[in-house]
């Protein structure tokens, strides 16, 4: 049981937090701009490299340098929206979806160009886990990731339900034409959607890069699971995306636990298939997701 918590549940919550933060952006962008943003994983990568670069110049704890990664991701997201997505806004959304594939390739190529295609780490050396109550052995990073994600999720909930901007975002997501009739500034809402989506993506990118290592495919490799999380939570439901991310993360990790025999239930190399399986099953049987989101 202790092994299950230390080696499966906590790592599951950690990768789930990464999925959750990425899925929030995917879900909000789908809700408000109505397209599947395939460059979101690469936006995570860009954010991760932003912090990695900051660490080279300011050698302190990478999480304290998060604002650098967030700023780089926000600037990148606003720029691609302005130059690639905005001109396509009035066309059928498939144009924007395809454009986001292009943007994903641009981000990845730029990452290779500026930061090389190899693996890079934020901090080197062995990190000892923290021992709690003489039984739980949890890495410091995993605790930080889970706690920070929890704080972000709570803040996001209050932002969306209590603040004027958050409510305006939900209004535009609900009925864009009525939002225009009510005199809301839709473009401002779109800009803030990118700011929030990119901030969370950058944070997720740093978490993922610190847990393993930074490489140009980091975000792209996580994209499928993040889409699965967004679908699981219900498209256009940011809090659903958080729940979806955590569930997918835990499902992936615990699927490799020795449930039935001494062997893992499924081989760890197949664990990303769990997210895919959950997504397909949901699209077939409950396409609106857990939180009654939009139908794809």
């Amino acid at each position: 049981m202790i092994d299950f918590i230390n080696l499966y549940l906590v790592p599951g919550l950690t990768i789930g937090s990464v999925y959750a933060l990425g899925a929030v952006g995917i879900s909000m962008i789908f809700g408000i701009l109505r397209f599947a943003h395939f460059a979101h994983g690469d936006l995570m990568t860009i954010g991760g490299y932003g912090v990695l670069t900051a660490v080279w110049f300011i050698p302190i704890h990478p999480l304290l340098l998060l604002p650098f990664g967030i700023a780089l991701a926000i600037v990148s997201a606003l720029a691609v929206d302005q130059f690639f997505y905005k001109p396509l806004r009035r066309l059928p959304t498939i144009y924007t979806v395809i454009a986001s594939f292009g943007v994903a390739l641009i981000f990845r190529s730029l990452a290779q160009l500026f930061w090389s295609s190899g693996n890079q780490v934020f901090t080197s050396g062995v990190r000892m886990p923290v021992v709690l109550f003489d039984t739980f052995r949890i890495s410091e990073l995993h605790m930080q990731v889970i706690v920070l994600t929890l704080i972000i999720a709570i803040a996001l909930h209050f932002f969306l339900t209590r603040s004027k901007l958050g409510r305006a975002m939900r209004a535009v997501s609900d009925e864009p034409e009525l939002a225009a009739v009510a005199g809301l500034d839709t473009e401002r809402v779109i800009r803030w959607t990118w700011v929030i989506g990119a901030s969370m993506a950058a944070t997720a990118g740093v978490f993922a890069g610190m847990d393993t290592s930074m490489h140009p495919n980091l975000g792209w490799n996580l994209l499928l699971a993040m889409f699965a999380a967004a679908v699981l939570g219900g498209i256009g439901k940011p809090m659903g995306a958080i729940a979806g991310g955590l569930i997918i993360g835990i499902a992936e990790e615990t699927a490799t636990f020795t449930w039935l025999s001494d062997e893992p239930l499924i081989s760890p190399s197949y664990k990303s298939a769990v997210a895919f399986f959950i997504m397909v099953a949901l699209l077939l049987f409950r396409p609106q997701g857990l939180f009654k989101g939009r139908l794809l």
């Binding site: 004027k164 409510r167 305006a168 209004a171 009925e175 034409e177 009525l178 009510a182 005199g183 809301l184």
Partner: protein
């Protein structure tokens, strides 16, 4: 009385094809004005063009003595114009209270709490449903939320596109009574309505639109008694 809204020679449509052509219309302050006419006459298009939701190609619109023809919807709301669209007129996943709140964003009132109380006093039915998602309400209640949302910006002029469409006859009466209450509070109303006969009964003035052009205008009573109007648009029966 001077006109609060004045429309002169308005032409508008979609993709270069005019739906309304050279339409003239005056709405005096504190009156209820109703636009009637057959399907496809351009009634909704006229309302949408006034509110800058459909592109105008010719003509001018003045509101409270100010030319507003070139302004965007988001600029018209702070000037004192609100609109309730015919369908999809609430934010379904937002609560009733949040729907009302969104109504204040484009033109924040000085005392939001007071405006909210005033609006809720018009729609007491909504008081017990403030925390409920607007999408879960009945059609009539949704119409009330939509009107409440539009009134939260304290408009001088309220544009309504078929406020009774799809409602039961019982709700139809309630909505028309509510419109009289709204007018009592100093709001001028311009609405498009399919239930022409009932609408003309509460209206001060009516405008009949046919094929995108002015056909006849007059007081509600005069139109109800006009033979041509009765034959063509009111089902022929005596008013």
């Amino acid at each position: 009385m001077s006109a609060l809204l004045s429309v002169k020679g308005l032409t508008a449509g979609y993709g270069g094809v005019p739906i309304i052509e050279g339409v003239n219309l005056d709405v005096a302050e504190h009156e209820i004005s109703v636009i009637i006419g057959p399907n496809g006459a351009g009634k909704s298009t006229l309302l949408k063009t006034i509110f800058a939701l459909t592109a105008r190609s010719e003509g001018e619109i003045t509101f409270a003595g100010k030319e507003i023809s070139g302004l965007k919807t988001a600029q018209l709301v702070p000037l004192g114009i609100s609109m309730v669209p015919q369908s999809r007129n609430v934010f379904p996943t937002l609560t009733v209270d949040e729907n009302l709140d969104v109504g204040t964003y484009a033109a924040p009132p000085k005392d939001k709490e007071k405006v909210r109380e005033n609006v809720l006093s018009l729609f007491p039915d909504l008081k017990g449903k403030l925390g409920q998602a607007a999408g879960e309400l009945s059609g009539g209640q949704r119409q009330m939320v939509a009107m409440g949302r539009a009134l939260m910006s304290e408009p001088k002029l309220l544009l309504l596109d078929e406020p009774t469409a799809g409602l039961s006859p019982a709700y139809l009466e309630i909505i028309f009574d509510l419109l009289l209450d709204v007018r009592k509070r100093g709001v001028t109303i311009l609405m498009v309505e399919q239930n022409a006969k009932q609408a003309l009964r509460i209206a001060d003035n009516g405008h009949v639109l046919v094929s995108g052009k002015n056909f006849i205008s007059g007081t509600g009573e005069a139109l109800l008694n006009d033979d041509a109007v009765r034959r063509s648009f009111l089902g022929g029966a005596a008013a």
